[in-house]
């Protein structure tokens, strides 16, 4: 009972924070921008968040976080528009919606698909928020007893999981995490004040600018790779009129199960590091197809095939905040940026955040509700506007994006040096694309690296240099064992893949 009355108090505190005019405004701006960048292929959530990151320096931390979060879950709503209508995923998390969404458009049912997925997104998001309200405080309370040893172990697990599960080669992901940690060591050493890797450049003594790094790796590199490859296409606009959106009774009946399963699956995978909304959406689709009575309908416009992944990715969007806010350990590059926004405002992320700054945490959670309602309003009646946005050619878009990157990063310190850094990281980001090196683990390593070093050094001080402390304490031992298991499992499945391929080519 005590917990319930606590929760009620927290909800009213959160609502009073989230419903102020300023926070409502920034929530609206966030979800609006999220929808816009979600709709437009070639600009992802990460690029958009890093572009708007500089603006948050001038806001109070709660408003800043509300806006950045709005962009993040807003892209999932907007992203399915391009997937369904044009067969181009607006964001990776919406790629699965192409499989059955585009066939629905070809059958003239694109409007129905858009309306129904907006509903699925809302339900998935709501489930995620409720779980966050219930579990984040419990986890944070438990984590209050953690020492540096446990934190170091958890961060190792987070980094390894995030870089091995996502995509491509495990080795490359891990290498990029380490490279990110290396970039994170640039600047003043916390304990001695000695300058590391600054090469006499004064602007580097505060470390590499997070905004410059993120914008270069995700914004500039993405533009270089997209210029000659993203083209607008023709589209029949009559399929998205309000009249054409009306679903049949059959559509609704078929959707209930997939949405429930998708929300549950998404909520679970959102909390794990590395398995963000994209993985959740793919799994949700695979499960629906496996348990379907007529699996042959999938890929030909089955409504279950868009409802399950869209509810899963939105649920995962919300629950991915749980480890970030309750433990201070982000599971993805986007969450690392959210954490960066807090650190820049001088707020230490971690379990004490909820007790020390309850208005920030609960205000953010309540803004999720407001943002999700706003998104439904934005997405259903205004769909025609977003469709027109899809038709803006990329050659008008990228100079504007570049301009916002340039001005945005300059305004952080009013120093042209940061623009040089964006250019450098843009070149690095494109090189990494050519070498098929993932960029997200680098950013994650960059944000977590300094924290890891601090916890490791503190743990060593306390344990008098005894490395065994990491396996003597039960929680850190369990976490590190999980990490090792994950690496072994990954190596084994890579070996098995190679074995199968060779068996295939010999046969």
């Amino acid at each position: 009972m005590d917990m319930l009355s606590n929760l009620a108090g927290n909800i009213s505190l959160g609502l009073s924070t989230a419903l102020t005019a300023t926070n409502l405004f920034y929530c609206f701006i966030g979800v609006l921008l999220g929808t816009v960048v979600g709709v437009i292929p070639g600009i992802g959530a990460l690029a958009a968040i890093s572009m708007l990151f500089p603006i948050t320096f001038h806001l109070d931390p709660t408003s800043a976080l509300i806006m950045l979060a709005g962009i993040w879950y807003g892209t999932s709503y907007g992203g399915n528009t391009a997937s369904i209508l044009l067969n181009i995923p607006g964001t990776p998390a919406n790629a699965v919606a192409c499989l059955d969404g585009y066939p629905m458009t070809l059958q003239g049912r694109g409007g129905v698909a858009l309306l129904m997925t907006t509903g699925a997104s809302f339900i998935g998001g709501s489930v995620g928020i409720i779980l966050m309200m219930l579990f984040a405080p419990v986890i944070a309370g438990y984590a209050l007893s953690f020492s540096s040893t446990e934190y170091f172990a958890l961060m190792v697990l987070g980094l390894v999981a995030a870089s091995t599960i996502s995509d491509g080669s495990t080795l490359k992901g891990l290498a990029m995490v380490v490279l990110g940690i290396a970039v994170g060591t640039v600047g003043m050493d916390l304990y001695t004040g000695q300058a590391r890797f600054t090469f006499g450049v004064l602007a580097l003594s505060d470390g590499v600018n997070l905004v410059a790094l993120a914008m270069g790796l995700f914004g500039v590199a993405e533009i270089i790779a997209s210029i000659r490859h993203v083209n607008a296409r023709g589209l029949d606009r009559s399929t998205v009129s309000l009249k054409a959106m009306k679903p049949t009774r059959d559509d609704i009946q078929r959707s209930a199960g997939p949405v429930a399963r998708g929300s549950a699956l998404g909520s679970f995978f959102g909390t794990l590091p590395g398995t963000g909304p994209a993985v959740a959406a793919f799994l949700a689709y695979a499960i629906e197809k496996r348990i379907a009575k007529q699996p042959e309908r999938f890929g030909k416009g089955a409504i279950e095939g868009i409802m399950a992944p869209e509810s899963a990715n939105n649920a995962a969007d919300q629950t991915s905040f749980i480890p970030t806010m309750a433990l201070g350990i982000p599971g993805s590059a986007t969450m690392a940026l959210m954490l960066g926004a807090l650190i820049i405002h001088g707020i230490t992320p971690g379990p004490q955040l909820m007790t020390q700054q309850p208005d920030l945490f609960w205000g953010l959670v309540m803004s999720f509700w407001i943002g999700n309602v706003l998104l439904v309003v934005l997405n259903v009646p205004l769909i025609g506007v977003w469709v027109r946005l899809l038709l803006v050619p990329y050659h008008l878009l990228y100079p504007a994006v570049l301009m916002f990157i340039g001005i945005g990063v300059y305004t952080v310190n009013n120093n042209p040096f940061d623009i040089w850094m964006v250019t450098l990281f843009g070149a690095l980001g494109y090189l990494m694309r050519l070498l098929k090196l993932p960029a997200a683990p680098l950013l994650l390593g960059f944000v977590l690296g300094p924290l890891m070093e601090e916890h490791f050094r503190r743990a060593m001080l306390v344990a008098r240099g005894d490395l065994l402390v990491f396996i003597e304490r039960p929680i850190s031992a369990t976490v590190l064992a999980l990490t090792v298991a994950l690496i072994v499992w990954n190596a084994l499945s890579a070996l098995r893949r190679r074995f199968n391929r060779e068996a295939l080519s010999n046969a």
Binding site: A182, R196, A225, I227, H395
Partner: protein
């Protein structure tokens, strides 16, 4: 198709080189300390050694398999990076609006054919938008025009 996977070899070699540089630079210029009282150099050295390890592990198997290499978009890369460099060089001496116009014009060269009309239109509209958002809207202290002499 190449006989070697050149992409992963390049990738591994670059990582090993970076790791070597970090480890050598850190051990030469920073205090390493002991494991109980770690100096500023110890963590970077560990990071450098890890990079060397991962680089080697990526490069070695690449010698024994065929690979492909993506088309490099030289033109887009050059135009986009040059536009940012021009912006960085111009924003202090000339102010925001000339720097923005330079950025838009140079980045437009990334397209295979130069679109005069749309570039002119963007040079007119985007700086105005920048002024409205950053100058008027957010009230940031940005110089719009400046004379370097």
């Amino acid at each position: 198709m190449l006989k070697l996977d050149l992409r992963d070899i390049a990738c591994g070699v670059l990582l090993v080189a970076t790791g070597l540089f970090i480890a050598i630079y850190a051990s030469a210029s920073l205090d390493v300390g002991t494991i109980q009282r770690m100096g500023p150099g110890m963590f970077p050295i560990a990071v450098g050694v890890l990079l060397i390890g991962f680089g080697t592990a990526i490069a070695i198997p690449a010698f024994f398999r065929a690979g492909t290499f993506d088309q490099v978009e030289w033109r887009s890369t050059a135009a986009v990076l040059a536009s940012l460099i021009a912006f960085a060089a111009m924003i202090r001496p000339f102010g925001l609006i000339p720097a923005t116009i330079a950025l838009i014009t140079i980045s437009a060269l990334a397209e295979p054919k130069f679109r005069l009309i749309s570039t002119l239109a963007m040079c007119l509209c985007l700086p105005m938008l920048a002024y409205l958002i950053f100058g008027l809207g957010l009230g940031l202290p940005l110089t719009m025009f400046a004379v370097p002499f």
